[in-house]
Structure formats: structure tokens, C-alpha cells
Subunit: 248 residues, 4 copies
């Protein structure tokens, strides 16, 4: 059994160094919700030195709300916004001898692309234009996954280690009390459950199909890093190898 | 006799459409002093439809001062800042079937690179990393021209149609009363003088060597556009062909 | 009035140096009907030093017949054959600070792509994969022109200075006695006729619509070079500017 | 403990399908000692479907001797020969959604680059020009490894599972009776010895320092495939993970 563990990096949160020892893929902020050229270059270098795969983490232009506010834009503008960020990231990565291994939309852009086919396609078109060999990280079962496959892009289906699932396979919204799962042992069990069975237990005890090639973790608080450390140890005990997801 | 005429575009000034009928190269703002992905894409499309060559116009990150404030940054950061903007611009251009034909640093970055070899080299390294076949627009005789040639990059030496020259070949500083030349006929005469003789008449009447493959014009006021129109007509009468400068 | 003049280069014919003083675009053999890496690099350098635009001249793999024998291949194989040659050419050009400005299929591949939509599309797909900003040189009115436009590629319509035209706009086959036009003054007149009127006089005296952004000349015999020299002089007298066709 | 297992592919040997189940990296012939565009595309697709990393396997132009004859060429020509092949391979890989993960010179080019710094540098310059993020496969301790590191390229040091070593760390020449090691269990033991100790036992029983990030195997006879199968099983028993070597 294999899984990739991904986390956001270069957002100025302060636990990047600890996270890089624990994850296999880093999603690096490309300047629209956080970061600027110097922080992108720094995060690429740090990841590279530890064998962590690097990817672009494009967002709506919205530093005020950290890219979390949903914005209504025509598909052509989303294409331009994502192409701009992927081009900037790819240039920095290649200038430093690295690859843009993957692309993971950030925040509101990720959520909107999960349910809206037009937005999802605009992102896939930007990937085809900038680098057809990069991997798209998409919520398992989402419109973004479908658009990626339709465009011939390699897709890594993503699950969230610390989020609970609704009976229909969507995430429990963040504003609900039962949105999060706090115990890393339980989180690891759930990832192993998904890898073994292709299903996840939801909040009502039912089980729904879900696939996982990459699992998202967070590092924006000290406790979050400890959560990832224990998750990783549990996965090792269960015989799960942690490594980046690559397109070939 | 041939010359390229370049102007800044996509800065929101409002006379882009008029300018595009008159110039052969457009320097498009890449989001750091002005512009954002949509305006870059729009300006590329508009230029492309008129056969105007497009180039990146990278700047310090300084929207407040329109990129005109000098900033002291380590060369590694200037490299990252320029690589980011060139990568973003190149991706958008190629996604639209166009080329990043040239690179012209904007404002304070242009001025600092003209006199500081380290800054000039950081810009040239970014060009080598992102696109070694693009042309560098550099002030004739500047440190930037030298760095470009040392790096094997094609260089187009730039002169300014509406600026007066000091006896040492530098531009009369903008804060002096005699900084600008207001008569387009006189400006055209001067460009023809440079093309014919390789020299320009300075404010004290002496003549100093200067070479010109591209001449910079402005379009940020209605009068400026009329200035360019008359300049272009005068050049035509003098038998000067206006066309983009290309690397091969 | 403007026109590009293109000729094949790097085929070992021996008049490359003379031709480079007369043309604005060079189609460089990419190793499948003639040439090898060293000759490609040499031809790019020679063209670059004279401001001549360089393009790839891909062919069927057929050195025995100089790429002139028609071959029946599945579209997927034609895609692979062309992608391979364009990738090789682009890498060499960019390594030397030049651009792959255009792509012109050679010999039998050119002829088949002119009439067969599937072959034409395979070539256009290869261009989109390798460099969407390169210009496609295609026989005016051909299936290749149509495929290029459908794919969003810039197309330069090509005419032949030394070939006669059938009443339907196709070229008189090479095995007919009246295939060729031998007088450079007459050839120049015809190019000017096409530029002015959008029509060409055919062998039966009728006139058929044809458009020209690039005119093909040959240099494989000493007389051919002299033909081009006189053609170029006649075009100059008629006020036609000779310059490369660029995508933007 | 981790190691990459690489093998040559697309050379028409007939055991490609079996090999692809056993190795983690495929070196694909790029048309100069074997292969042509269709076989390159086919091998990329086959490797991609099994998660095997693909790399270019450039050679001197020498189909007659399968690239095994040493040729004396100026460095500039070696640069052109390698740039051509890497450009062709990269274009095909990216057109199919894959990456050129690595570059391994073939046959005589590999052997000459191992001992000659100028040839090694020409290969590294070609990699920098075509793709600075690809990994160079180089004989551990060779001039090629040194040139790769000096150029800032990621290097995977290579050992040979079925070859015996001289006391100075070089391979026993192929024409000697003791050149080859025939027992896969012994070969696996040796790879584990290298991974654990950084040393290999040579033909006189002494031990010499050698590092291994990738181990080369062959598949040109049925026995060779069986050798690899047993080698892989032995590595698994020793707790060695087999996976591609990546630049970041």
C-alpha cells in the first residue's frame, strides 16, 4: 500500500521545516493568497533538499481572505489567473533544477472546481498549456477529477486525514462541530481503511466509496505538526509506504 | 534604415488601442507595478491581432509607486522576482500562440540595472533560465547591455524619443526642466540622426555616440499618442522602416 | 506590400551561404531526409548571424529518396515522426539563442498534408504539443492550411515562384514540361500580381484566387541562386518589402 | 534502503514487456543506435502505464555497431548530437503527459564520458540546455558524475548488478572471462553490500568505495529477465525498496 502525504507550504505559517520532514509533497503558495517570488524559491529549495516533490498551489487573487472567499469569474479569466501562477512557479522550479510535479488549487478555487465543471476545465486547460505532464490533485469524485481525466492529465485523488465525511462522500462543512477528526491514530486508521477497501466510514456510520492517492495534512499550528507525526508513524506500522505521486 | 518603436501597455492608462496602431513592440506590465493576469492576456491578444511583438515588462513589487521607487534587494531575490514574472508572461503568451519576444525591465529596475552590474546580471540570469531566445531591451551603453551580451542574449539598444541627453550619453534627469523634448518632428529628426550617424546631439550641443535598435515612446496622455503619430509619419518620410527587433 | 522568401537549408546542397543573403526564412532539414545534428546547428548559426528566421523542415524517414516518396503511415506515427523532429530542432535552436519560427513539412509529407486532412491534423497536433507559437507554412488553400487554422496555429500561405499553376490553383505536376517557370522577372511579376490582386494567372490564362505570405525559392543549382537574386531585385523595384513571417 | 533499477528499452530486443514489470526506470533508445519515433512513443506509453520512470538513452549515430564503437568528435558536435536526441525525447514524452526523468548515455558514449571530462561536460551542457531538472545517470566515481555535479544537475550514481569490479573501482572489461557475475542471488547480495557499506568486493577480494542510487540490469536474453526477477525478489527479502530516482 502506498500513499502520498501533501501539505501547504510557503504561506508564512512558521512550521514549514517540521512539515517537510513528514510529507512527500509540498503545495507551494504562488503569490495570490500568500507568498511572493522569494518565498516560492525558498520553499522549492527546502523541499528539494529533503526529496519532497513540489507543486503549485494557485489561488484566486485574494490575500485579504487568504484565498478562502468564493469569487465569480468568467472561465477565461480563471484560465489566465491559473496559467499566470503555473507559469511563474514552473519557471522558478526549473531554474532551480526542480520539477513542478503537481498542481493543487487552493481554498475557494479548490472548492468551486470540485463542483463546477467550467471552473474545473479552465484549470485543466491552464495545466495543458503550461505543463501537460504535471499531476492534478483533486478531491476524489469531484468535477475537477473528471475534468482532469477528460483532458488526459494524470490525477491524484485526494482525501483529508483530519476531516469527517458526509454520507454522500463530500466533506462535512467546516462550520459544523463534527467537521474535524482530532485523533491521529483514528485518522491513520481511516487512511488505511480507504487504501484497503476503497471506502470511508461517514458520520452516520454508513460507508461510501472514496479513492486516495494523496492525503492532505495541515501544519499551521504546533498541534497540527504533532498530528502529522503520529499519522505518519501509524501508517508505517500498517505497512503503508509514503511517497510522492508522479505522472510516470 | 530600420527601427523598432516600443511602448508600455496593459498599465490601465487608456490609450492602448491607439498606441497599438503606431508601435511595433509592446512592453506588457506583468502584475508587479501594474496589471494582472487578465490584463496581460488582453494586451497580448490585442497586440497579436495587429502584428505587434509582445514582451514582458517586469518590475519591483511596488504598485504604490508604479515601480518607480528604487529598492535594495539581494541579487538572488531580484533573480526570483524577474524569473517569476517572465515565467508567468511566457506561459500566457504561449498559451495564446504568441512569443515572449523581448524583456524590458520597468521603471526603477530599468534604471538600477542600467548602472549596476549585479542587478543587470540577475535579470540576464532570469532570462537565460526562462527563455534564452528572448531579446533584452537595454539602454544603449548601459551595464544591462553589457550583461546581456556577456550572457549571450540578443540585445536591442534603446533610445528615448522624447528625452534629452547629457553630454556623457545619459538621460537628463526627469526633475530637470530640460528633461523632455516636446516636438515630434524634432524627435524624429533625432532618431534619424542616431540611425544615420550613431551619435546624438546633447543639451550642450556636443555629440555623443549612441546606438538605437528600438526607440521608446509613451502613451499615457492624449498628447503623447499624437506625438507618436507624428514621429512615425516623420520616420516614414525619412525612409525609416518600423518593425520589431527579433533575436533571429 | 510584404512577403517572406523561404528556402530549404542544411541539405548539403552547397549554396547555403549564397541563399542566406537572399532569403528571409530558412527551412532546415532535421535529419530524416537530409542533415544531422551538426548540420542543423551550423545552419541555425549561419541564419541567425544574418537575421534570417529559422524553421524546422520535417520529413518522412527516407534519406534514400530525399523524402520525396509518399509513405502510408497511421496518423499516430506521423504525429510521433513530426514531434520527434520538431523537439530536436527546437532544442537545438533554443540552446543557441534562436527560435523555431516556423515549420514547413518537406517533400512527400508536404504534398500529402496538402490534400489529406488526417495527415494535416497529425502535423498540427505535433506543433501544438511542441510549440503552439510557431508558424505553419502551408500551400495556399490546402488541407494543411485548414488544419492549422482549425488548431489555432498561425499559418503563412505559401506560393512557389518558379512553378506554374493549374486552373484549379494546384501546382502543375513536376513531370510535365510546363511545370517550371524559368524567367526570374516573370516570377517576380507573378508574386507582385498575387500580392496586389490575390490571384495568379494559370497555364490556360485564367486567373485563380491564391494568397501569399511566403514564397518558396530553391538553391540547389548555381542558376537557382541567380534566379533568386534577380527575383529579389525585381521585388525591391516593385516596392515589396522582404521579411520573415512571424506569429505575433 | 532504496534503489532504482534501470534497464534499456525500445531497442527491439523483444523482452521489454517482461522487463517493465521488474524495473523502476527505463532508458529509451532515441534513434541513434536503435529505435525511431514510433518505438520511442510506444516505450514511453508502456512504461507510463506501469509507473516506470522514463529517460533518454542518447548515443553516437552508429546503428551498425549499436552505438558501441568509440568515436572521436569535437565537444561541440557531441553537444549537438545529445541536444538533438534529448529535445526529440522530451517533446515526445511531454506530448504524452510524461516527463524525461533521466538521461543515460549509451554504450561508447557512456564509457567515453566516464573517463573524459570534455565529453562529460558536453553531455551536461546539453542537459542544461534541454532540461535542467532531469537526473543524470553516471557511473559512480566517473568524470560524468563530476561534470554533472559541477553543472548543478541531479546525479544518480550507477552500479552494474551483473558485472565484476576491478580493485580500482572500474568495471572488469567485457572481453575478460571474469567480466560477468552470473548468479542473481550473489548480484543481490552485492547490491545490498553496496547500499549498506558503500563498498564493493572486487575480483581480488579487496573492497573499494562505490555508491549506488541506481542499478543497471539487462534484458536482451530470456535468462537475463529471469536474472532480474530473482535479483528483485532477493532485494525485497533484504528490505530494499525499489523506486525511481527523481531530481526532487
Amino acid at each position: 500500500m502506498r500513499i502520498d502525504i501533501n501539505a501547504d507550504l510557503g504561506e508564512g505559517a512558521g512550521f514549514d521545516a517540521e512539515l517537510l520532514e513528514l510529507v512527500s509533497s509540498a503545495n507551494i503558495a504562488t503569490g495570490f493568497h500568500a507568498g511572493e517570488p522569494k518565498s516560492v524559491a525558498f520553499a522549492i529549495r527546502e523541499a528539494q533538499q529533503r526529496g519532497v516533490a513540489v507543486g503549485a498551489h494557485p489561488s484566486f487573487a485574494d490575500r485579504e481572505n487568504f484565498g478562502r472567499r468564493e469569487m465569480v469569474l468568467p472561465p477565461g479569466e480563471i484560465f489566465a489567473v491559473v496559467t499566470y501562477q503555473l507559469g511563474a512557479f514552473r519557471a522558478l522550479a526549473e531554474a532551480m533544477g526542480a520539477r513542478m510535479n503537481h498542481v493543487k488549487p487552493h481554498g475557494a478555487l479548490y472548492n468551486m472546481a470540485a463542483r463546477d465543471a467550467e471552473i474545473a476545465e479552465a484549470i485543466v486547460h491552464a495545466m495543458l498549456a503550461v505543463d501537460a505532464a504535471a499531476v492534478l490533485f483533486a478531491l476524489s469524485g469531484s468535477a475537477l477529477e473528471a475534468a482532469g481525466r477528460a483532458g488526459g492529465i494524470a490525477v491524484a485523488r485526494e482525501v483529508f486525514a483530519d476531516r469527517n465525511y458526509m454520507p454522500d462522500g463530500s466533506l462535512v462543512p467546516r462550520d459544523r462541530a463534527d467537521a474535524l477528526l482530532h485523533d491521529p491514530a483514528e485518522a491513520a486508521e481511516r487512511v488505511v481503511e480507504i487504501l484497503r477497501s476503497g471506502k470511508v466510514t461517514t458520520i452516520d456510520g454508513s460507508r461510501v466509496a472514496v479513492a486516495a492517492e494523496t492525503v492532505c495534512v495541515h501544519g499551521d499550528t504546533p498541534g497540527a505538526v504533532e498530528f502529522v507525526r503520529q499519522l505518519r508513524a501509524s501508517l508505517a506500522r500498517a505497512g503503508v509506504t509514503v511517497q510522492p505521486f508522479r505522472s510516470s
